[in-house]
Assembly symmetry: C2
């Protein structure tokens, strides 16, 4: 059997209580007792039983981090930022380090809920939800309920790169928007929606996706582009909607709007989607001189499609991305993007999760983007576009 507190206590000739106090450093202990205990710990190679101490103390050292995909650098960088604060390498004592339980939800609301329960079960000290949210009212209601449960259980909740939980606004047939009381769940049953006042209000670090997308579109417009395609992310996601709104706002401000949905193709947040989407844009809008992509990965796919179609970036078509992931700007040619400070955001989320940093006033802090203009954008070609080679 493993070495226990009692073994250490016996060896040091003190009580278990004293050993506990030495190890936790919460109570005063005589220097000599203290060193005797520490020696016993060394000699016996004692390692605290985490579950036992979590049970007794009703807390744990675990912090849950929900991500869409841990293999995606967007989330990896955020997770790295979180870790930099919850487990600082220079922590004087290993006890100062929380452990990050990283959960890959694949963007699925069901997985998100499952993991929240799993984390609540572990009595995680905090839960950090990263990236955009799904906008389905039923899921939002379920999520709000799960988060409320978690908060009631004493865990902190932090949203990172995700807007605050929104009140259940539902559009009725007439297009009127109002606060709904119920909605129809995925299983066809009626689901009660939380009233705005009942929503949990977790600390929230929201990305300014609207602003970033708007800045990118304005950049393209200022270069002289008039026919700009947009490769949007999956529908029903806040990230997708906000970026698209920002993009359209810029078009409208420039008098370029000609109906909703125009020159927009929806897809996923991955490279293949960018490739397919760009091909579709080229087919449907032959006059296009620029493509704004939902993110860098999508933009790279779009670049590949353009290359394949015999079009040069940016001489024939300009392309913009979003997020500024490490490798992306390297891709041919250097990508113009809206940089999101992912690591810093993760770090702040970590501090909020620890309770070291106070939540921003109102609970929400908006994290801005920075426009990075690079070689993937240029003024539109003046002459007609060369014929496609395929």
């Amino acid at each position: 059997m493993a070495v226990t507190l009692a073994d250490v206590a016996a060896r040091a000739g003190v009580s278990a209580a004293t050993v506990s106090r030495v190890l936790n450093g919460n109570y005063p202990v005589a220097g000599t007792t203290r060193s005797r205990v520490l020696r016993a710990v060394e000699e016996l190679e004692y390692v605290v039983n985490g579950p036992a101490s979590s049970l007794a103390a009703a807390t744990s050292d675990l912090i849950g981090v929900l991500v869409n995909d841990i293999a995606d650098p967007f989330f990896g960088i955020i997770a790295g930022g979180v870790q930099s604060r919850i487990a600082p390498v220079d922590a004087p004592d290993p006890r100062g380090r929380k452990l990050a339980v990283v959960c890959t939800t694949g963007g699925s609301p069901e997985q998100e809920l499952t993991y929240l329960t799993l984390l609540q079960r572990q009595r995680a000290a905090a839960v950090i939800l990263t990236g955009g949210a799904v906008e389905d009212p039923a899921h939002q209601a379920a999520l709000a309920a799960a988060l409320r449960r978690i908060e009631r259980a004493g865990a902190r909740v932090v949203l990172c790169g995700r807007p605050p939980l929104s009140p259940p606004v539902v559009e009725d047939e007439g297009g009127a928007r109002g606060e709904a009381a119920t909605t129809i769940g995925p299983d066809g049953t009626e689901v009660a929606l939380p009233r705005a006042a009942d929503l949990p209000r977790p600390a929230c670090l929201a990305f300014d996706n609207r602003g970033g997308a708007r800045a990118l579109a304005e950049h393209l417009i200022s270069l002289g582009h008039r026919e700009i395609g947009y490769l949007a992310g999956p529908a029903e996601r806040t990230t997708t909607r906000h970026r698209l709104e920002g993009h359209r706002a810029a078009l409208e401000a420039a008098g370029l709007a000609d109906g909703a949905g125009d020159r927009v193709v929806h897809g996923r947040f991955d490279r293949d989607s960018g490739y397919e989407g760009a091909r579709e844009l080229l087919r449907r809008f032959p006059g296009l001189t620029a493509i704004a992509a939902a993110n860098d990965t999508v933009a790279l796919g779009a670049c590949a499609a353009l290359r394949e179609a015999g079009l040069r970036v940016p001489e024939d078509v300009s392309v913009t991305g979003f997020d500024d992931l490490p490798f992306a700007a390297e891709a041919a040619p250097a990508l113009t993007t809206a940089r999101l400070p992912l690591h810093e955001a993760g770090a702040r989320a970590g501090l909020l999760a620890l309770g070291v940093e106070e939540p921003p006033p109102g609970g929400v802090a908006v994290i801005g983007t920075e426009l990075r203009v690079r070689a993937s954008t240029a003024p539109p070609p003046s002459g007609p576009r060369p014929a496609r080679t395929d």
Copy 2:
């Protein structure tokens, strides 16, 4: 206070033992009792107390994953592979899902040891160590001791992308190699080394770094290159050494070896290092027609340096990478690399951690690389290289 087993038992009119049995599904329970219990669980929104059950059952649902850097896709992809198996999305029951505790060690042996203790403390069911190891004998000894402790505590240990723990071979002054008994630790004290027979033998999925590097070098040689520079990773790491050995083996087999260390620059595994290293190679070896980089990230840095020096890839200088990370091949121009099946390796490591898959015979499975020849390599230029532009 939170809802407990006893509350559920009271509500269902059964004993706590029965509730436990229903929830764990280990013992037969009458159907009617069962549904009564499940209803009570629903009604009370009961969530098991993980620490309590870990304490009682002496196991936990946590699996530790040690990575150099969670923001690096190399590790993110491996971690994703692990998760795909330890927490399958189609698990019929959330209890079938283990949680991954991802720990970023920054490649530091001290951090590695700290995290191993932290994970042992959590009574993690398994620990997966990913990526190359540091070769310092004192650290190897400490690591071996830590792993032995963990195994004795009942946790599985899996090495993924890391060679097996090596016996403490030390080279003495005369260059003779033998098994040493002690070495000098970082604090100057003498450290006992484990004898080969005492080493823990965790399940191990080793990457064929030698083979991959050798294949890349052979590819360059077959194209006609004779002056090939090498951008090595940090010294003292198995990954660095093995890749370099494979590279040199190819040069030797082709009669191109002219002394150890020639045309080799050491650095880190990052882009800046590739940039700096390539500049140094160009300075020291003006006749170079190819550069083999330790990995894709380093290769991208090298490409940037070449571009800046007015040299084209591959017309003037060919470049190779390693690992085949998603974005890398996209970087201008498409990179020739040795592809490592990172996701698959992680998935296998996950199965080994669960104990679902038996360790390979001998404990070690070697995972091969696949040569991906792309546009970054071509025959060397025939004429003299154009003068540098700076």
